[in-house]
Structures are given as C-alpha cells and as structure tokens.
Symmetry: C2
DNA sequence: GAAATAGTGTCTCTTAGACACTATTTC
DNA sequence: GAAATAGTGTCTAAGAGACACTATTTC
C-alpha cells in the first residue's frame, strides 16, 4: 500500500508529502513535445515528468525555475504555475500533493539532463496518473494563456518568420488560421517588428525575420463573448 | 520565528505543512463581496479567509467543497481551484504551502459560520499576506474564467432579469457594457431562456425573468486576438 | 518555365457599439 | 403627464475569412 499521507510533526502541525512537477514544452514539427526523464525501475512506468520533493523551505517559483533549468540544461523562456494536483491519482514519488508548472523553450539542442528525451504531447508513453493529469492541464493552460502571455513568442527563437509564428499559433489553437487575417491582426497589435534579415529555406521566396517587440498597450476592450459550452 | 517547514517524517519522506484556503464570493450591489471569518486573537490580523490544514488523506476538491459548505451554510453554486501559494508570504496558520480555491454563491441570506461576514472585495480589512495574494488571484481568476465557465450565472439566483445578468458581467469585467449589444450576443449564444414570470421593481416597466439553459455549442471559432500587454 | 513559398489587395459577412426610439410601469 | 426602467431597430466601423492576386526564390 502506498504511503500518501504523513503523520503530524512533533509540534503537532499536520503536514503532507508534496512534489513539484514540471511540464517542459517545445514545438516539434506541427505538434508540441514534452520532456520526460527515465523513471526508476521500481515504478510501473518507464518515463516520468521531472520532479522534486518539496521541503517547505523552498520558494515555489524559484524551485520550479531551478528544476526546469536542470532538466533542460538552460533556462526556459517562460514558466508559469498550472495548479495543485491531489485526488487519488498516483505520483511516481508517492507524494500526496503535487504542484504542477509548465514551461516552454524554443530550441531542442540543449544539454538535457541524463536520459531525458522529448516526446510528442499527443503520443506520450505511459505516465503515472497524477503526472498525466498535470500534462493535460499544462497543455490546456498554454492554450488559455497564449491570449494574455507571450507564450507563442517564447516557443520561438528571438527572430522568426511570420509563417513560423503562425504555425505556433496553429499548434496551440489546434486549428488552421487564415494567413492574411493573421498578419493583419498581428500588425494591428504592434507586437513584432521586422529585422533586416531574411531567411531562405530551400525553394521559394525568402521570408523576412521578425522579433517580438510589443509597442503599445491595446485597449483590451474585447467585447462580451459567451463562449460557454452548450448543454 | 515562524515554523514554516517541517522535518522529514520517520520514513524519510520530506513533508510540508499545507493549508486549503477558500475565497467565497457573492455580488453586493455593484461590487463583489468576500466572506471572512474572525482571526484568532493571537494573530496580527483581525480577519482571515476560511481555511483548513491539509492532512494528505483528503481529496483537494472535496475538502474545498466541504470547507465552503461549512463556511457558507450551504453548498456554493460554483467552485474551482486557483492555484498553490508559497513564497515568503505569511499564512495565518503558518502553513508553508497553501492551495487556494474560489467559490461563488448568489445569495447572502445563509447561515454563515459563526462570526463570518461579507466584506467588499475592493475594501478588505488587513489579511495575512498569503491570503491577500489568494484573494487577488481568485478575483482575477473569476474574471478570466467567466468566458468559459458559467460564473456569472452562478452569482445569480436560478431566475434573473437580463439587467441583473448584465450588472454581474459589468461587475466581473470592471466596465460598463452596451445594453443592446449585450442582449444580441446573449441571444446568439442560446444560453438563457425566458420564463413566464416578470419582476416589477418599484417604478418602471417590469422585467422578464430568464433562466440559464444553454442550448447548443457555439463553434468557438473565435479569431486570433493578440491581447498581450504592450511594452 | 514550373514549383514552391512569401506577402498583399479587395470583397463580404459578422458583430460591437452608438443612437434613437418604443413599451410599460409608478408617481 | 413625468419619471423611470425594459426592450428594440438601424446605422457604422472594425475585423475575420475567402479569394485571387503579385513577388521572389530554386529547380
């Protein structure tokens, strides 16, 4: 039987075993990839999300950033908390409670932690149920936050073509986007500026490289939209 | 000095003291109100959010719902997790880690827990810094989720006038909304249906009562919008 | 020139918001 | 009738998407 709860400390204050788990994401072709590390042989699954046990002395965000850095071999370009996960789902470390973080990085040519590999988010190997839930919430969280945080830009290197950017948006939205409309919206938002560089990718006309350079704050006066799921 | 971390258990598994804190919200005039309970005299602040210590044996969502029910004297009409809060901020119970939940309820004529009172969200008394952060995130979370969850409807009784509904939207959005436009959007979304009842509120033409009855799933094909904060 | 990719001009349709109006109640 | 609140018809401007086009490269 798994030990999921812990006895009170001597002081009488109840405490729980807790972990901090991270979902590192990068674009891989037209899909997202997630970084997994080999799981200890004792476990049921062969792969797991990078995680650390929480000791209570740590800062949440700081610990997440450190764990991400160690797993990736470099600082992630964006990181955010996804939430707390408990319930009955099993965690590889037997933690009663897990705090999930999601982070993104543009490149995959890093010095990954030993044995770590990228796996397509749509075809992940078996994970402990708790970690599967964290991955699902993290991907959903990326989709929700791309409106209000520069997630798409952080999935790209500092300079990128507009087609690159559109493909990241399509990847996150899970649908195709109209090219001309996409570019008009982007121009109206004053989020990118052109560089002097062009990239030639085999055949076809070379594309101009842009960089993320938000200029002004949009009114944010989005209309009232009722996007609730119907009955 | 506060005891914020806990020693490892006998089994050697690190553990932390953790709390579950809830932000109960209800509309109060044109503003949101939050339920607070009297804090123990020992603490620095006179009020606090309802919270419980986590033991690790509990389910997160279930515990939150129970705590909300006990504080409110009735089940909340909607509840969701906001996130995990740690960092250096002090919690009334000295917990090293706190899981925040936000819940809403339409009415304020409940059998509240002893001493509990509603306080306007814009003018809260002093709270422990951790709990202040949880309140701020909870209110922001309500604003973000009203697009995708029926938060506004759960802040209203089962039947309501369209003016009631519009006022809740204005309260959550923090800005005025155009009446005709609001009603057109609402009609297009097939989210409410009229009842046979009308409510006369003193002077003026009586308003028809509606109920929340989502009918069909909208395409959800919202265009790409870049609402990132500008530099 | 063919193929491929980048980038743009114009049209239409939807919709948020402004404005002005009608409708029904209490005083 | 005046005041107050509920509810609606019409116009305009913005913007998303369709379509078709031009531009520049490799083969």
């Amino acid at each position: 039987m798994r030990d999921r709860s812990s006895p009170p400390t001597r002081a009488g204050r109840p405490s729980v075993s807790a972990s901090l788990d991270i979902v590192l994401c990068t674009p891989q072709g037209r899909a997202l990839a997630v970084l997994l590390t080999p799981a200890p042989a004792a476990g049921r699954e062969r792969w797991m999300l990078p995680w650390v046990a929480m000791t209570g002395a740590q800062q949440l965000d700081e610990s997440a950033e450190r764990l991400a850095g160690e797993s990736l071999g470099a600082r992630p370009s964006w990181i955010a908390q996804v939430g707390a996960f408990g319930d009955d789902k099993r965690h590889p470390g037997g933690a009663a409670l897990s705090i999930g973080y999601v982070a993104v990085t543009p490149g995959r040519d890093r010095h990954l932690a030993a044995g770590a590999q990228w796996h397509a988010a749509g075809a992940l190997p078996a994970l402990a149920p708790r970690q599967k839930a964290i991955v699902d919430s993290s991907v959903a969280s990326l989709r929700e936050r791309m409106d209000t945080a520069p997630v798409a830009f952080r999935l790209l290197p500092p300079t990128f073509t507009l087609t690159d950017l559109q493909e990241v948006y399509e990847l996150l939205l899970g649908r195709r986007v109209h090219k001309a409309s996409f570019r008009r919206s982007l121009q109206a938002a004053w989020l990118v500026e052109p560089t002097d560089e062009w990239r030639s990718e085999g055949r076809g006309r070379p594309a101009q490289l842009f960089r993320y350079a938000p200029r002004k704050r949009r009114g944010g006066r989005r209309g009232v939209r009722f996007e609730l799921p119907g009955g």
